[in-house]
């Protein structure tokens, strides 16, 4: 639904489809909601942003660091050790803190239709601050991963290119966690 709405609105506003879609990926419902409406549009590039957390061994980036496995009834990329035990995960964003990813997103990775990147806890918090300070929107920490990656990507694009970021939730729920995180840094 969110994809169909986004597609309709961006065509109304920009008179064309976006060049990039950016969405965070935990289990993947946020990203698939957006991506499904654009899968057939080969000119639209899609970027899934996984939770890089605190780095090696402390993240929830199933596509970046996982292996094909079967968890909770689906075959997909799963963070696991070499004996098939599921690894502990970490992300400051609770909605991304999951050791697997939806099978559709795994397939789209194998098909190279969706490109995957990771953003750390720290970068996500910076993304959240950026959107709050520039647009007055406090995005959920999950969506803030997409914002953070957009902030890295956009300076490399031409000014007429269009980027669509999926903001799927409000960040009020995350403020205490973010305050604690920033407190620990200082």
């Amino acid at each position: 639904m969110i994809g169909r709405e986004a597609r309709k609105q961006i065509r109304q506003r920009e008179r064309r489809l976006p060049d990039y879609l950016i969405a965070c990926v935990g289990g993947g419902s946020n990203a698939m909601g957006l991506f499904t409406a654009f899968l057939a549009d080969s000119e639209v590039r899609m970027i899934g942003v996984e939770a890089g957390g605190l780095g090696e061994g402390k993240n929830a980036a199933s596509i970046a660091g996982g292996h094909v496995g079967v968890l909770h009834g689906s075959k997909s990329y799963v963070l696991q050790d070499e004996t098939g035990q599921i690894r502990d995960t970490h992300s400051l964003a609770p909605g991304l803190d999951y050791p697997g990813v939806g099978p559709e997103l795994s397939y789209l990775h194998d098909q190279r239709r969706v490109e995957y990147v990771t953003v750390s806890d720290h970068q996500a918090v910076e993304g959240m601050k950026l959107l709050a300070e520039t647009e007055g929107i406090i995005p959920a920490l999950e969506s803030a991963h997409a914002v953070a990656y957009a902030a890295l990507l956009v300076p490399r694009l031409r000014s007429d290119q269009v980027v669509l970021i999926n903001l799927s939730g409000r960040g009020d729920k995350d403020l205490q966690g973010v305050a604690r995180f920033l407190g620990e840094l200082h």
């Binding site: 968890l71 070499e82 004996t83 035990q85």
Partner: protein, 278 residues
Amino acid sequence: MTRITETFAALQSHGEAALIPYITAGDPDLEVTFRLVHELARQGADLIELGVPFSDPMADGPTHQRAAERALRRGTSLARVLDLVQNLRRTLSVPLILFTYYNPIFRYGGERFARDARQAGVDGVLCVDLPPEEANELKQETDRHDLDLIFLLAPTSSLSRVRTVLTRARGFVYYVAVTGVTGARATLPPDLGEMVRRIRAISPVPVGVGFGISSPEQAAQVASIADAVIVGSALSQIIETYSGQPDLIERVGAFVSGLKLAIRRERNLPGADPSPPE
């Protein structure tokens, strides 16, 4: 005919229900598991389920979850459990069934697993999160290596699903007595007997009942309606309580012999009552 089928046939020939205890391999460690399995067999286990611990055991209640955590902390893996079975097989004839989740098998490789498991002396495999519709890949391999891939039925299974599962069943079919996860329950569902009767009426293989059975009384009750009684969490509980103590093996053995006695008594079988003291 596999060792599981032979065992059931031998028991059925004199009207006895099988006792199938379950323990988690590697809890508290694999050496103790080795001794526990022998003790289970000595005290009357007809088949034994060995749990291969998994980090995310969604079908298990807290007792088995803790057992799996203890086993994983000791580095227990599927490969090590297969080594254990190989060691056990030198002196043990009781059928062994691996009870596990699919991901460790998938990661090990289905074909390699079926071959190694058979070679080690495993007789059956029960993969709780692999429904029959999704099991073709593994079943092809287990069938080829003559391992029984055992499927589950639940109180929520419709009659058409029961039929579907039974067409693929080998060894025995595992009826989950309660809705929910493994773990001791004070009472068993009142319609358990009726459910099991319906399944047995159309099943080409024996029907075992597990989940929630924790006392000799419950074991006897289930023995009166089913071909096998499966007891797990109650044993894990004893292992947890007496782990590291000198009488661990003895305690587990006494519990299992109590279950066996109750089951035989229920069916009025010889050997049900211990000989009177001289």
